[in-house]
Symmetry: C2
Subunit: 217 residues, 2 copies
Amino acid sequence: MSETAKAPTDRTRLRRYNWLAKYDRDTINAIIDASKVCQVGYVIDGEPYVTPTSHWRIGDHVYWHGSSASRMLKAQAKGIKVCFTVTHLDGIVFSRAAFNHNLQYRSVIAFGEAEMCDDETKRSALRTFTDGLAPGLWDYARPPTDQEWKASKVIRMQLDEVSAKVADGLPEEDAEDYASDRWAGHVPLTLVQGAPVADPRLDPAIAMPDFVKNFKY
Amino acid sequence: MSETAKAPTDRTRLRRYNWLAKYDRDTINAIIDASKVCQVGYVIDGEPYVTPTSHWRIGDHVYWHGSSASRMLKAQAKGIKVCFTVTHLDGIVFSRAAFNHNLQYRSVIAFGEAEMCDDETKRSALRTFTDGLAPGLWDYARPPTDQEWKASKVIRMQLDEVSAKVADGLPEEDAEDYASDRWAGHVPLTLVQGAPVADPRLDPAIAMPDFVKNFKY
């Protein structure tokens, strides 16, 4: 889904390094979709909490799930404000000047309100999440029992006040530094997947399904 | 530095999946040190903020830095409460039951107060950070000017109320699920570094220093 960029708000407008800022939804969605892990910030009794959790996106909403008993979900069920972030580390930058060493990264930050999904939205969203991990996974797996459905909650948040930051180059250095004999460049970092590993308890006669063989993180 | 585990507090004691919890300082330090990126949560005017930033550890403190002008550092200079988190994604788990799909990960969460470092601590900490990226980097790079020192601030936080979570196996499944003919296992994920890439503006006669050749993320 391609959408026009929204004007940044005071919170999402990058003030420093503002040339790294991206406000177009395609860039933002791609960064969100390329990760299975986000960090969700929220406030309980005036104090900050950050919970790493897995997320997924459907249109203009990001979703995460958890147990009905979790502290995070109990707090967020009340519709509190949340700050959603995703970060990919892409490289380490070696610069000529000590204070120009840097990271290459892509990140998204979104401010909004947590919304507890109703039962219908929850069921559809968890199916989308599962098939988003690997197409066909939902139909392959043992379906949730009523008890499991009951114990699981889904929170979502609208992507509205949102911005991305893409640092994929090298920092601009001073003219005198460029003229020096110091080396500069970067070391790329990539999250690489290994070969699937079967559960040691698995009956070796059970074949690996195609959605695992074809899995691409 | 090896230390005895501290008893968890109400916030750091894992209530769900508590068999994944680790409270010993060696495990916690190893997870923190294995990443160059953390997420720092804080509260401004009652609203949650999460900022991804690079961190380093010296003994019992974690440090991060930024510009004197940054919103995060301005707020944190007042000694506000912060929530520090580090997350490594290590794999995707395919389970027999739809709701047992999971992630393998190592994470740390620490609650504390931001402390603006004084000038002496800042200077020593930034040197440690730089040499922590690659040994020898501080002496190789062009030293900071007075102006650069002035524009840079360092925040630290004591690691006291802190816990780790290590999910490196497969979830326990129901007996009936183990007896099914469904495949289960995991796909490992690893952050892999590529060969160093020189700055396109670099004079090709300038040799790559050993600390870049030997760099290990």
